[in-house]
Subunit: 540 residues, 2 copies
């Protein structure tokens, strides 16, 4: 499907291929669908990489069903997906997981949870019952395969508020940048957008009126553009003079209260704030609303999938110590239960989903090329802090129900909880850069609170009850929030897409959705397809 698709009535734009096919099928019946499939190259040859062809039981030789064994390293979402899909086709799967629970980096922190970091420091969460935060992945877009598994596994979802007109932008002046009159001032997304869109529309209308765009616009297009600018910017007589869209000093109400809004700041102050450069975050393919989260915490997904895979097929507290290809399969050694007590497991195949930052330090007879490749990615230095407040002041006082305040401080994002609305307590999440990693637990809280106070005032300190922070490079089983590749990714990435002997690799780091559950799922499904197709081809 290279190149451009011609626009014709009835051809939806901007759909995934699967959606496009669905629509063609709907509109035109089976014959049209078949024709489109042929045109898209889907009826012959290998299917496109983004289409999962689940292994089917009847494709395995009878004597292989339930007897072809796969050991899977890691019960994160990649490992779980691999086991879940292989089991459907009759493979005998077993997962080794170093933690005492499924999910890997999909971690929801609740009261009583503990975390011991690579410095040996242990935190225990003191959140109240029902209070929690997602320390790893926290959002699911509409189009990710993750939702398909939620449906299949019966995991309920609710909105994750990724954008909210009432949340804030905050730019404080730095040594190198002055943000002008709006610096050091929390501004609602609503206001920033109304003011930017207003002034930009005014400029556009001005340019059109002056004939500056006559070379590129027909008379009709120019008229349509002016009409768009008036609507988009809420212009009056071609000028932006403020708008109720930016919020009111006196909101519309009963009787004579028709609503009063301030004059906007001057255009120059708006542009100087540079807040407009933040708008595009929420246009992103993976960040645009709507976004979703499981009810009760992100780990509801891996727990549901682990249930489906079966308790007997997962060994927790199993830390892999050695991985060996043999002539006929793999042998994996691991410690289980008491330290020092080593067991081994043999299997026909292995899928290793352990993050490369950890996997590369495990003894193995993997090829030198593989070892070199595993050494390339680096762990993302990122973290989160969950702050439990005794009162949801952001909702009660500021009418912020979910959403993210974006700042240029190192606690880059302040997430208001997307559940428990109108309740008493809540957990705000600071999503921070590496600047917090080497701070003590107490210092992290102090720093996050000091930055939050600049935006929310003393409530951000005074109403705090307890916090819990995570620095992903210090989590022993992860050594990073995700894996960063060089750009371009190069040979190392290429190499790990192929098996090393009987050992396949999978994880979000082997996808173009790094840091997303969908990346891990898609990668696991690719490993499953590769393994299965090789097996079927060999058996044939």
């Amino acid at each position: 499907m290279g190149g451009r698709v011609e626009i014709a009535p009835g051809t939806p734009q901007g759909l995934s291929r699967r959606r496009f096919l669905t629509r063609v099928g709907m509109a035109g019946g089976a014959a049209t669908l078949y024709g489109s499939m042929a045109a898209l190259g889907l009826t012959a040859g290998p299917a496109a990489a983004d289409e999962f062809r689940p292994p089917r039981q009847n494709e395995l030789p009878t004597n292989a069903r339930g007897r072809t064994s796969v050991v899977i390293l890691g019960a994160g979402i990649a490992g779980l997906t691999a086991a879940y899909e292989l089991q459907k086709a009759g493979y005998d799967c077993h997962i080794l997981e170093t933690r005492d629970r499924p999910g890997g980096r999909i971690r929801t922190i609740r009261g009583g949870d503990t975390l011991t970091d690579t410095d040996g420091v242990t935190q225990t969460a003191e959140f109240d019952d029902g209070q929690y935060f997602n320390a790893g992945p926290a959002r699911i877009p509409n189009h990710h395969v993750t939702l398909d598994y939620c449906r299949e596994l019966g995991v309920s979802i609710e909105a994750l508020v990724n954008a909210n007109a009432e949340s804030l932008y905050y730019h404080e002046n730095t040594g190198s940048t002055d943000y002008g009159p709006l610096a050091n001032t929390p501004i609602t997304h609503r206001q920033a957008k109304a003011d930017y869109y207003g002034y930009v529309s005014e400029l556009l209308a001005t340019a059109v009126d002056q004939g500056a765009l006559d070379d590129v616009l027909s008379t009709d297009d120019a008229e349509r553009l002016i009409s768009f600018a008036n609507s988009f910017g809420d212009l009056r007589g071609g000028k932006y003079v403020g708008s109720g869209r930016r919020g009111y000093t006196e909101a519309p109400g009963a009787g004579h209260t028709s609503g009063v809004f301030d004059e906007p700041p001057p255009m120059s102050a708006v542009l100087h704030s540079q807040m407009g450069n933040r708008f595009s975050f929420e246009f992103g393919f993976n960040q645009a609303m709507m976004m979703w989260q499981p009810v009760g915490g992100m780990d509801r997904i891996p727990f549901a999938m682990a249930d489906a895979v079966g308790k007997k097929n997962i060994t927790y507290n199993a830390t892999v110590t050695e991985i060996r290809n043999t002539s006929s399969g793999v042998v994996v050694a691991y410690t289980s239960g008491r330290p020092g007590r080593t067991r081994t497991i043999q299997a026909d195949h292995c899928i290793a989903t352990i993050p490369p930052m950890v996997l590369r330090d495990i003894s193995s007879n993997l090829s030198n090329e593989t070892k070199t490749a595993l050494a390339v990615p680096t762990g993302a230095n990122t973290g989160k802090i969950g702050l439990q407040y005794k009162r949801r002041f952001w909702e009660e006082d500021e009418k912020i129900f979910g959403g993210i305040t974006a700042t240029n401080m190192d606690v880059a994002g302040i997430w208001y909880p997307s559940s428990g609305f109108l309740g008493q307590k809540g957990v705000i999440v600071g999503y921070y850069s590496g600047a917090y990693t080497d701070l003590s637990i107490a210092e992290r809280e102090e720093r996050a609170v000091a930055q939050g106070v600049k935006i929310h005032g003393d409530a951000y300190r005074d109403e705090l009850e307890t916090s819990f922070s995570i620095a992903w490079t210090k989590v022993p089983e992860a050594l990073g929030g995700w894996a960063n590749w060089p750009n371009p990714r190069g040979d190392a990435y290429e190499h790990l897409l192929k098996p090393d002997g009987h050992i396949y690799f999978a994880g979000d780091h082997l996808s173009h959705n790094i840091g997303w559950q969908a990346g891990a799922i898609d990668s696991a499904r690719m490993a499953v397809m590769n393994l299965h197709e090789r097996l079927v081809a060999t058996a044939a």
Copy 2:
């Protein structure tokens, strides 16, 4: 607080006065707060109209507590709010309601519900258990007082998806307008925005580069504008050549699947579509996300408030037949139970929340001025159809989880349900214009389905199980979706803000949030304040 507020660091922009005061208090302590209150004129004289001063029990003369009686006409949210707030101050309130349930136009349609319209046609909803739609108000913005009552009454809320990148725009050509190459083609919001923002940013950058805006932009501002345009439009070398923001033909996935997107349609086709003129809907003060709905149906709010008011204080099936001011109070006659059996109730005061289109036909000794005023508003000719589907094809096939598809057809908006995600069945709502009002029930379904098929294909017809439609001008107790005033509203509106003898008027029609629950609540609170202040002043 007339005129402009100077921008100074620490002064949040775009906040309501109440929020502004809260923030000043947070940042500067009580002394600062007091100073700001004085500056805003809040420490002396009458409070601003948008600030509700709830009546307090200790303000009533002892002998008036529990003995000052108020009869309230209508158990919609206005009447309920009036009773609820007056009761807190010790008034003896009684509500007469013609329906058999509270909520008025706040109606959630569930299986078994019936509706008999002014033509005498009765529908009974055949929705499955758990399937429903909100036939009246269906959304609550962050800042509306409605949420305060949800908190106070313990009504749980969930997201109402008012905007979603995956929902669609659809413009079909009409006799008078040709929408160009994208006509008659469903386009995702995601794509329409990416393409508009891309091309508009390109035009803006072009104008700046040509010096067309040198008169109004400093060099620094021009640079910042270019930076904004690059970010906002995802430009490459100053040009818009498409973007992953518009969606992919092959989404980013595992392995080599880095994502493929089509070239966008030409600028002229994008402008010709006029879809960009729809974007500003979701920038509106009352429409910007986040938006909310009660879990289980909008009528959870009036039911909870009716519980708080008390069963014994509301008479259902009570149709008012006469309203009379007397020298000392009011007498209201109503039929209750068996038709023709008339009862009367006497009270010191009355608050009439019956919509003017209905109230004006009730016998009364209201002044001629009042009668003239009540005759002015007209009932909005609008309606909804709820379509229960046996499969949520919009979620499964099209990845649309909630949101609204906007069309230029007369089924103007197609709402995907904002609850029950990933489930089996769901109710899609068509929000239609008056064009459906005079159709038969069957014809309404046929018309709504035919229009939906143009967007969603045959599934929109084939997977339909049952429907229920409402035309608000034909609902006997409402005679309109809301009340429309002339513009400007004029003397009639002014007149109804004042009591006629002992009779006060309230309802969303006496607010600047017509059609919103908050308008009804604010209006009721204003009537409560007026009534209470007059009583206190008289007693003093």
